[in-house]
């Protein structure tokens, strides 16, 4: 009886909190942050950690671009360069991109968007943050001791028998950060399953929730395979147990299969959440319902499932059989379709809209452009004969940076500027933000587009020194990197400034429709003063059978309803 009652009758008042009280002011002192189980505070803790790793990884990138300015190996030694790109890859993939949107925006927004007070396992959430930092410290330790020179891919037998870096420490760090991401992933899945507000059916969930849900499933199922492959490396390198060693009849390609079984889905771990963010932003600033809501959901699920079956396209030249390569090639072409659906649907969400171009929207439009370019170059790589030529060249480097940086990082900045007023209760200077968004788009193109050309011309990746005929492209790329770095640093400046100088934000500054905009900015400790009840799907920017007016902002409707 008590169950039923508790479920039906949402308490009219959460524990009494005065109006001005919010999650930031609910408790004071550094200890209250370090022991918090509030998903919003943990999201901010993650933001701080990720910022640190973004800066470390970015520093490595700057050093690399500096070295590549001239063909000769002149800024640093060959070993130092190899350590730089390993550091860049390891930090950026596992300590920045994989957790970027899920652990910051996702952590903050997921309970708010589904009308819950917190994640299902608040203490697990905090534990995952500590584990993340512990893993990060291990990685930094390996860096301070002298670094790792295997590349982020840890290919055997180089990593097990030839490398003279601190491979064990780095592998252990990645295993631990993997556990942290599994903890977050299962927390998100359980939250979406068990804590949706009354009436928040599956097909009423905002697309960001769907995207993070699908991402979490991929995290939970793929990460342990990475753990397995790295544990085998630890066994072979640390304990002398031959597993991949060809001298004993072991198969070094086995490691690649295990590694890419995780690391290809990992690409979707990085990009799926940004799909969600872009869907939220585009609908809000086009003032239209999302075009093809169910298509968007199925596209996300399609990508999440097929993403597990395409790992072999990283291995077309590794010596795997041609037949296997063709199967993987086929599936890689098939997975292009859902991405095309998403791009098309975002474009058509603009159709008959009432579009304005605030900073988040500029980021979102930039994202669509960069993601389209990144996706189309994926078609080149999915074709076996072209991939044979361009794999392990700068073409691949350009391709995955378009997806993971042009896509995921742009979406992160877009999402951050979209939800910043909700997170902090402050508004940032709109002009600067628009400038940064435009600069980021052009800086990115300038940095990474030349890499396609030099890659096709034959410039191999992971080269600290290179033939002079590639120099012009590297110079363009390095110059573009300056713009890009400025575009990444600029928001850190004006966002920080807005904390002190920014105008107070209203509860719903963008007139958006999600449940998170119903509560105050910043939200109270337990998210809602009145727990919401949901009667309709997301994105109620206009009545079902109409569109927005010409000039007036349609009196949009929030998805949720108070008691």
């Amino acid at each position: 009886m008590s169950d039923l009652a508790a479920r039906r009758v949402r308490p009219a008042e959460a524990p009494a909190e005065p109006w001005h009280d919010n999650y930031l002011t609910a408790e004071q002192g550094i200890l209250s942050w370090l022991t918090t189980t509030d998903h919003k505070r943990i999201a901010l803790l993650y933001m701080a950690s990720l910022l640190a790793f973004f800066i470390i990884g970015g520093f490595a990138a700057v050093m690399m671009r500096l070295e590549l300015f001239t063909p000769a190996q002149d800024v640093m030694t060959a070993d130092a360069y190899n350590r730089m790109f390993t550091l860049h890859g390891t930090v950026m993939v596992w300590f920045f991109l994989v957790p970027s949107i899920p652990n910051t925006l996702g952590n903050f927004l997921l309970p708010l968007m589904i009308g819950a007070r917190d994640l299902a396992f608040p203490r697990v959430n905090l534990a995952s943050w500590y584990l993340f930092n512990g893993a990060g410290l291990l990685l930094l330790l390996s860096l301070l001791l002298g670094g790792v020179d295997t590349g982020w891919t840890f290919y055997t037998p180089f990593s097990t028998m030839f490398s003279n870096g601190y491979v064990l420490l780095a592998a252990l760090a990645v295993v631990l950060v993997g556990f942290s991401s599994i903890m977050t992933g299962l927390n998100f899945i359980a939250t979406v399953h068990l804590l949706r507000a009354p009436g928040m059916y599956w097909f009423r969930l905002p697309l960001l929730v769907w995207a993070i849900y699908a991402t979490s499933i991929v995290i939970v199922l793929a990460t342990p395979v990475l753990t397995a492959s790295l544990l085998l490396i630890v066994a072979e390198r640390g304990f002398g147990l031959p597993v991949f060693d060809p001298a004993h009849g072991g198969d070094p390609l086995l490691f690649q299969h295990l590694f890419w079984f995780y690391s290809h889905p990992a690409v979707y771990i990085m990009i799926l959440p940004s799909f969600g963010v872009i869907s939220e932003i585009v609908t809000c600033f086009a003032r239209r319902r999302i075009f093809g809501y169910t298509f968007m959901i199925y596209a996300i699920l399609w990508i999440a499932v097929i993403g597990f079956l395409v790992w072999g396209h990283h291995m077309f030249v590794s010596g795997q059989s041609l037949f296997a390569s063709l199967v993987f090639s086929f599936l890689s072409f098939v997975i292009a379709v859902p991405s095309a659906i998403k791009v098309f649907n975002w474009s058509f969400t603009l159709y008959r809209g009432q579009i304005t171009f605030e900073a988040p929207m500029l980021y979102a439009l930039g994202f669509i452009g960069l993601f389209t370019l990144g996706g189309l170059t994926g078609l080149f790589l999915a074709s076996v004969p072209i991939d044979i030529h361009v794999t392990d060249t700068y073409f691949v480097v350009a391709h995955f940076h378009f997806i993971m940086v042009g896509g995921a990082v742009t979406a992160l900045y877009g999402g951050l500027s979209f939800w910043w007023p909700k997170i902090t209760g402050r508004l940032y200077p709109e002009g600067w933000a628009r400038f940064a968004a435009v600069l980021m788009f052009f800086g990115f193109i300038f940095t990474f587009f030349p890499m396609f050309i030099m890659g096709y011309a034959g410039m191999p990746r992971r080269y600290g020194a290179y033939p002079p005929e590639f120099q012009i492209w590297h110079v363009m790329s390095s110059s573009g990197a300056v713009l890009l770095a400025a575009a990444y640093l600029l928001p850190m400046g004006y966002l920080t400034l807005s904390l002190f100088r920014g105008a107070r934000a209203t509860d719903d500054p963008w007139a958006a429709t999600g449940l998170e905009w119903r509560t105050s900015s910043p939200p109270p400790r337990h998210n809602f003063r009145r727990m919401p009840v949901v009667d309709e799907g997301p994105y109620l920017y206009h009545p079902e059978s109409e569109g927005p007016h010409h000039t007036e902002r349609e009196p949009h409707e929030n998805q949720g309803r108070g008691a």
Binding site: S2, D3, D118, L186, L194, P224, A228, H248, G250, L254
Partner: protein, 212 residues
């Protein structure tokens, strides 16, 4: 329905959901664990594919007596753990503590036998490296996997023992109600350790002995 002294915690609004969550979360985690061991076992199979005879010969050197007794011990512990799950849920105090205690004891017996088995392996020199006694190429790979998989499984068992031990201690002190869903979740985890072993047992001990 009596809540049995359980408190409703953030972020839950119903006790039933709160109970459900422990099991659901554990199932998700078990999926993850299954893929961890699945990947390792797949790697084992892939390597075995290249060296079927060597793997069979190497498997014949594994200590089948320890392996078989341990299988029985672990299967029995799963039974007692299952009893514990039901007993705690029904708040049968005596049965609960007996079955939890037996589970812990059987887990420790497994570990003890495992350590004896490893000692015997070491005495026979079945450690990859110089002085490894088997000549077929590939045999050493079998033992490479052996020394990677069995300690990893034992680590999981130690994790299970600590969890069950901790929960039992809490319950004995009265700090945790017997009805707590944690017992059921711990039980699920325990069964996974058992299931993993059921896959490892034929791979390690039986494959070389099937035909001859």
């Amino acid at each position: 329905m009596n809540s049995g002294g359980e408190a409703l915690r953030e972020p839950w609004e119903s006790l039933r959901r709160q109970r459900e969550a422990a099991g659901f979360g554990m199932w998700l985690f078990l999926n993850s664990e299954a893929l961890l061991f699945g990947a390792l076992i797949a790697a084992f199979f892939a390597t075995r594919f290249y060296h079927p005879q060597a793997f069979e010969a190497a498997g014949k050197e594994a200590e089948i007596v320890y392996g078989t007794v341990n299988t029985l011990v672990l299967l029995t512990s799963s039974l007692t753990m299952a009893v514990a799950s039901f007993a705690t849920r029904a708040e049968l105090r005596r049965v609960s503590f007996w079955s939890l205690g037996l589970t812990l004891a059987l887990g420790l017996v497994f570990l003890g036998l495992k350590i004896m088995e490893w000692r015997s392996d070491l005495e026979k020199g079945m450690v990859p490296g110089p002085g490894f006694p088997m000549e077929q190429p590939g045999a050493v790979l079998f033992w490479g996997f052996y020394w990677a998989l069995t300690p990893l499984h034992a680590l999981h068992l130690i994790g299970g023992l600590s969890t069950v031990g901790f929960l039992t201690w809490q319950a004995a002190r009265g700090a945790r109600p017997l009805r707590s869903p944690a017992f059921e979740a711990a039980g699920l985890y325990w069964h996974l350790i058992d299931v993993v072993w059921i896959f490892l047992y034929p791979l390690i001990y039986l494959q070389g002995r099937a035909s001859s």
